[in-house]
Symmetry: C2
Subunit: 325 residues, 2 copies
């Protein structure tokens, strides 16, 4: 993995992925005690950064292989990213989702043109279903994070951060990234290493699922006790990736861990101060900047709002608990 | 009023006003039966387009006059725009607000550094209070819409629409603008006349407050029966402006009128499909595109989401009534 791969992904994404805005509010600056800049990936196509990596991976396939179609496992943002990328290339996308996934996410994935295959989490083996389908139908698996072209696609978000920081004259800042498997974090860290070396990346994770923070502290891959559940489910993975972890270990500072309450408080701030809809997992980096700023060194902190695909009931519950009126 | 004045305003706003993104969703295209592009002014500083006009007007004042400070009447978005613009120039801003304005809006205006003067709507004369304060303290009035430099500032939104449409290869489209006094509409219409003449502007207003649609139909300024009240209060004015109306009459097609229910439905769509927080008045143009598209001629419709300063209870009520889950 190097910057050339990210720049090649950026060329493939040009005119497809949105250049998302870097937003701010004096009210957030007051809470954090420093300048807060917010990279609004919830405004990316399909409502999360995942479209970048999906489009990067699908567009990097050899044409004859791509024509055979793609397959992905996902109950959420990666599914929608792969579905849209496949539709744009006019190819088949098969998405394997648990039968108990939210109906809205299943419907949205189908509406984006994907063929959704449901499985029973209790009785069926997802990987076996995927392997059989891939072989029978000659589909290429698009992994959610531990793939060089996916990391390169997420890294295009880092190229944009480097450019947008430079436009504002910012040479030094902390950059906090919402972290699941580490695709977005490692991609951004590689991009900033090359383009804005004074910008230091940190991860943010929800309490109870802090595998990356613990792995960064111990220097080796640590697993979560639980692999799912909790408010920030969408960004939870069992452990950091084999490709992503060495990149994060080399380039990232200590990881932040925030509570579910803090994630909800950050969602309420994004609503009232930024006019953005953010999902709980997508708000953990903002929560770290607002409520754990003591651990930061720079006058400026840049955070990713990584996605906005939140059920209405979850969103309004966060406002009811932590909103201002 | 001509394009040179708008371009001069754009130079003064450069690096201050945000270039807001032009967003889209395949789900909105499906509802409308055509391509829908959304100019997200809710992401502008202070949460609405009003900052553009306020900053334009304040920055256009002669330096010695500006140094004396500014005054504005507003219970909402114009207040915050003027307060922020004044703070950026380090000058006094006095905002005259009704004592029964929402506490949050009063607090926000104060937090942006403005001096808030409250008056009793039932017993006090707002204009007399303003005239006395202006004279005693040598403050310059910044009008909400019927001022050339305010119109020019709002017109910078139209310059951006022209550029963003051209980047997408769009030469012909309908453009629907949320319309109160007509500052944003007339500014955008002038900008598009000069820069993108194939883009045809229409107004959108809430039912019961359709003074502009009726004025456009009759060819002369018509008043609303009621001057306030209703869900879309923030964009309601008694009648179109003396400066803005002739511009709209010359350049705009027939006006759209949407129901409060349609505005709320558009808010719910902006939440789920665009990840944006939009106030009811700021959603009327999207509502017109989604639910009154029969009256449109082009394959592409561009709408302004003019603001996102909505009380939490109003926002969640719209989702509860018209959201998808």
């Amino acid at each position: 993995m190097d910057i050339a791969r990210i720049e090649a992904a950026a060329r493939r994404l040009q005119g497809h992925a949105r250049v998302t805005p870097l937003l701010s509010s004096p009210f957030l600056d007051d809470i954090a005690g420093r300048r807060v800049l917010v990279k609004a990936e919830c405004l990316q196509h399909t409502g999360s950064f995942k479209y970048r990596g999906a489009r990067s991976a699908v567009s990097a396939l050899p044409e004859d292989q791509r024509a055979g179609g793609v397959i992905a496992f996902s109950s959420g943002n990666h599914a929608q990213g792969v579905a849209l990328a496949a539709r744009q290339f006019g190819i088949t996308a098969v998405i394997i989702m648990p039968a108990d996934a939210p109906r809205l996410k299943i419907d949205n994935t189908r509406a984006l043109g994907a063929e959704v295959v449901l499985y029973d989490r209790a009785t069926e083996d997802r990987d076996a279903i995927g392997a059989r389908l891939s072989e029978d139908r000659n589909l290429t698996l698009i992994k959610p994070f531990d793939d060089p072209e996916v990391i390169a696609g997420q890294g295009t978000c880092g190229l944009e951060i480097a450019t947008q920081a430079a436009e504002r004259g910012i040479t030094h800042a902390d950059v906090i990234v919402c972290c699941g498997g580490g695709g977005l974090t490692s991609g951004i860290a590689l991009a900033l290493e090359a383009k804005a070396p004074g910008l230091r990346v940190h991860t943010a994770e929800p309490e109870g699922f802090d595998d990356v923070a613990r792995s960064l502290a111990s220097g080796r891959i640590e697993r979560n006790a639980r692999s799912a559940g909790g408010l920030c489910d969408a960004i939870v993975t069992p452990q950091p990736g084999n490709l992503t972890f060495p990149i994060m270990a080399r380039l990232c500072g200590p990881g932040f861990v925030v509570t579910d309450d803090e994630a909800q408080m950050a969602m309420a701030q994004a609503f009232s101060r930024l006019k953005l809809v953010v999902e709980p997992g997508g708000a953990v980096a903002l929560a770290a900047a607002l409520y754990h700023g003591d651990a930061l060194n720079n006058d400026t902190v840049i955070v990713t709002l990584s996605g906005g695909n939140v059920d209405q009931s979850v969103f309004t519950a966060a406002l009811d608990r932590f909103g201002e009126n």
